[in-house]
Amino acid sequence: MVNEKSFAPWDDPDARPLIRFERVTKRFGDFTAIDDLTLDIYEREFFALLGPSGCGKTTMMRMLAGFEEPSEGQILLSGRDIAHVPPNKRAVNMMFQSYALFPHLSVWDNIAFGLRREGKPKEQIEARVQEMLRLTRLEKFARRKPHQISGGQRQRVALARSLAKAPKLLLLDEPLGALDRKLREETQFELMDIQEKTGTTFVIVTHDQEEAMTVASRVAVMDEGRIVQVATPDVIYEAPTSVYVADFIGDVNLIRGTARARDAGPAPEPDAAAPEAVDPVPGAAAPLPQPEGRRPQPNAMGKWLHDRVLYRILGRRPDEPRQLPPPEPARAPAQPAPAPAATPEIPPGGIEIRWSEDTPPLIAANGDPALDGKPVVLALRPEKLGIARERPAAANLLQGKVIDIGYLGNISTYHVELPDGTMVKAQITNTRRVSRRDITWEDEVWLSFSPTAGVVLEE
């Protein structure tokens, strides 16, 4: 989000939260839906409650709206305990998952419903409804009934209706679940826009992690009535604090092993500013212009000269065909020696993870040496892995066979089986057309990642 730098009340010790859950527990009979939960939500936040179904996120929302009362604990809104205030007496409005539009009332009357309950003068109601219609671009449909408009329009009516009373807090219960993908993406940005314009605090409940990441200023990941982690979307994604969060948000490879502290002594090559190399495979990451066969081609002698001698000085030919049936055997030994010595830039310290008998340990320079001897999980996002047919120079290498390729258009996911049967996913952006890709099914490949690409988590 753009305003991330300037807007972070959760880091400000003086900021007073708009909503505070204080040791809230909610039981339904024997079932504990919310378990001793404490949480602060600040004014103007777009806060997402994210979790699988049954994790308690809907119960949280219904307690905020007043449809459920907590069994224990307090819910404070601007410092006032609202735990037992009925829904019609609190400055909180909700947008329902099913939209809950009143089918017998027109769009206009739906939006005016809440304002009329306040007994406001007619002109004020009219002005406010007009304003809401404009905000949600529904002016043309004011006189229609809900069944006479489309799904996307209904969604906007529901939003306009819940915003009409200018609540301190707006709750959104899976607001985009009923829309198709394209409309959903558009609406997400519309929601963010409206949130910014009105300055209302939004709390959204969703099981769609992509949606939560897109719209929210902070995300709370929930599991079985507890909050597992609350953080900004990038922290949730890049620095999850538990295996559960790493696994729930996005795609992840989990490699289990035992930690061993690494030597924190002087760096073998102190020049390394440890660039968090996302793609440590230079060969695969340098998509050069490929004007197919337009350049003058060298003859056999020229090729031989270049390949044997000159390439050390000049580098690879820009138009050298990269996707070929195995190159002439003579070339293989001529590659720059893939000796371990050529893997530079490993910052000192951190831990190494022994996870398999036959392979060298994986290096996690960002791991906590205090984990020495403990079982740990290395969480690696698929896009942090490089994939190549030839052994690249990198701190961490895994060898395996391509079992499956998931082609999604903009990206491809390679499912690589390691010798011990572990499946690892690597994601590559398709900067080139499919026909130019050089890795295919059953290929033996090398997966590589930098020593800081993964996150070390305790089991």
Binding site: P87, M94, R117, H147, Q148, G151
Partner: protein, 272 residues
């Protein structure tokens, strides 16, 4: 279209004959010129004229309509309230018992209902008349209304009521402004059902009636005991006619509304 085999045609004919032959005969004989019910003596509307000059029948008809109107209205209010509590009240102690008790009159023999009401009215020293019949009819038709309305309420999206509360409506306003308009069709059909039940009730009415409160069924029944007169045929034909017109109109209106709605929904989807 499926073609009908002779077997299908026969069963259809037999079935409908079984249902409607008695009524057809009654209608035909209502236009009989003869005084004797079973002897055909040519077409005539004479008995309709006689009927409208018969004060007793007209009085009884008026009493019946009044009783039906009041009892079905009270039954609709009470039945809707009961249904709302049963469906929306959440879980409270003895809920199953209560809902079972609401529906008990459905299966209770009318004779017993009538007799117990009579004992009650005598016990509290209430003079039997229009009021007692109205009360009695309310008692037994309320549960029918309750059944009809609660089946609608069960299918009703609860979040609509929650949305009304959320927007600041009091629970009563939420019911009045949101729930009631939406379940109105069920409430109206509950009222119609109660009205019809009251119109044709003979047993309970005869237990609880008193001087000056003779309803049409009681009148017809006692008249028939003295012999079937063609006037009664005419009266019954009128009743059949009214009911038929009512049913056909309702179904046409409902059907048309559904078609209209479907068309509008399609138009809304296409417009996007």
């Amino acid at each position: 279209m499926t073609r009908f085999s002779w077997f299908n045609v026969t069963s259809l004919t037999l079935g409908f004959a079984f249902l409607y032959l008695p009524m057809v005969i009654l209608v035909i004989y209502s236009f009989n010129a003869s005084q004797l019910v079973t002897v055909w003596a040519g077409f005539s509307t004479r008995w309709y004229g006689e009927l409208f000059r018969n004060e007793e029948f007209l009085d009884a008809a008026w009493v019946t309509v009044q009783v039906a109107f009041y009892s079905s209205t009270i039954a609709t209010v009470l039945g809707t309230m009961a249904a709302h509590v049963m469906v929306r009240g959440g879980r409270f102690r003895g809920r199953t018992l209560f809902s079972g008790m609401i529906y008990a009159p459905l299966v209770m023999p009318e004779v017993i209902t009538g007799l117990s009401l009579l004992l009650l009215f005598i016990g509290i020293g209430m003079d039997r008349g229009v009021v007692t019949v109205v009360l009695a009819h309310t008692t037994f038709s309320m549960c029918y209304v309750s059944v009809v309305v609660s089946s609608r309420l069960v299918a009703f999206d609860r979040s609509l009521e929650e949305a009304a509360l959320d927007l600041g409506a009091s629970p009563f306003d939420a019911f009045r402004l949101v729930t009631l308009p939406i379940i109105a069709p069920a409430v109206i059909s509950g009222w119609l059902l109660a009205f019809t039940l009251s119109l044709d009730d003979l047993v309970i009415a005869s237990f609880t009636t008193g001087p000056g409160a003779t309803t049409l069924p009681i009148k017809i029944f006692s008249a028939v005991r003295l012999g079937v007169s063609p006037e009664i045929n005419a009266l019954s034909t009128l009743l059949i006619g009214i009911v038929t017109v009512g049913v056909v109109t309702t179904s046409l209106v409902t059907k048309r509304a559904a078609v209209q709605r479907a068309r509008e929904e399609q138009a809304a989807q296409r417009a996007t």
